[in-house]
Amino acid sequence: MDPAAAKLIGAGLATISLAGVGVGIGQIFGSFVQGALRNPAAAPKVFGNVLLGFALTEAVALYALVIAFLILFVF
């Protein structure tokens, strides 16, 4: 296979991990809304943790981005 084509395919494959991140972020906010509707009084207290979880999950997507960039521009 042409190495340039293989590079593009590899970078595209690296973005598959976004599926997991999408599930994760949906899970975080979905659970938060569920919990917040059950006990609205406790909702403000956990919102900091929600944002932390969101940022940590989003970072996983960005690791994939870094790997895609590495494949495209370093090798």
């Binding site: 944002l51 932390l52 969101f54 940022a55 940590l56 989003e58 970072a59 960005l62 690791y63 981005l65 870094v66």
Partner: protein, 243 residues
């Protein structure tokens, strides 16, 4: 007009070339914007509490809110023993926050989008926390890598995993901040390219998207400073209280 690729904004230029032996210690645009961030943060905090009043004015409120935010974070995560590390944590938070926010000004430079900068900060945190752990607990700190309540035959498997995950902390800490900034700014540039290529007819669509993206990036700029600081607090807590 010269063409701008999405990565051109991250290129480092030498402003004042300085060469010490084999080390290139030039004053670059990254150094310039880090200096601006430190200066602005210092000026803001100093002027805000210069004429401190019992009933705070606008600027004093900004200073007090940011102080309380970091102080609460430290107290909730580390406890009273973390109080002596407050100056470092607060400086870290303000520096990252100002770097991130200043980077959002068009045509400015984001120092936190350089892996060198973020990794240097993460390495300082990692080495410092490890030294604190050994200084407080001596060699007993090595027990940190031995998970409790685990059957003995699993330990040869779990101890290397614990050590590896500990060693990966500075990498994940630095790459998280760096990749967030890199991705956000690259996305701006890509959408700005769409605006130009779609022209007057449809160009307003990506333009409005940039507006929405900008709000998200403001949130991310704050959030990443928060995440970096809170993880530093958690690592500090690990070193001080172990399990």
């Amino acid at each position: 007009m010269e063409s701008h690729g999405p990565f051109e904004q991250f290129v480092i230029h030498r402003l004042v070339p300085i060469q010490i032996g084999n080390v290139d210690a030039s004053f670059t645009n990254a150094s310039l914007w880090m200096a601006i961030a430190i200066l602005l943060a210092t000026i803001l905090m100093t002027l805000a509490v210069n004429k401190s009043a019992l009933v705070p004015g606008r600027w004093q409120s900004v200073a007090e809110v940011s102080y309380e935010f970091v102080a609460n974070m430290l107290r909730d995560n580390v406890g009273d023993q973390g109080k002596q590390y407050f100056p470092f944590i607060f400086a870290l938070f303000m520096f990252i926050l100002f770097c991130n926010l200043l980077g959002l000004i068009p045509y400015s430079f984001t120092p936190t989008s350089q892996i060198v900068v973020t990794f240097a900060m993460a390495a300082v945190v990692f080495i410092g926390v490890t030294i604190i752990g050994f200084a407080r607990h001596g060699l007993h700190f090595l027990m940190f890598f031995v998970p409790q309540g685990v059957p003995a035959f699993l330990l040869p498997l779990l101890i290397p995993i614990e050590i590896l995950s500990y060693l990966f902390r500075p990498i994940s800490l630095s790459v998280r901040l760096f990749a967030n900034m890199l991705a956000g700014h690259t996305m701006f540039q890509v959408f700005a390219g769409f605006v130009v290529s779609l022209g007057l007819l449809a160009g307003w669509l990506p333009l409005s998207f940039i507006g929405a993206l900008y709000c998200l990036e403001l949130l991310i700029a704050f959030l990443q400073a928060y995440v970096f600081t809170i993880l530093t607090c958690l690592y500090l807590n690990d070193a001080i209280h172990m399990h």
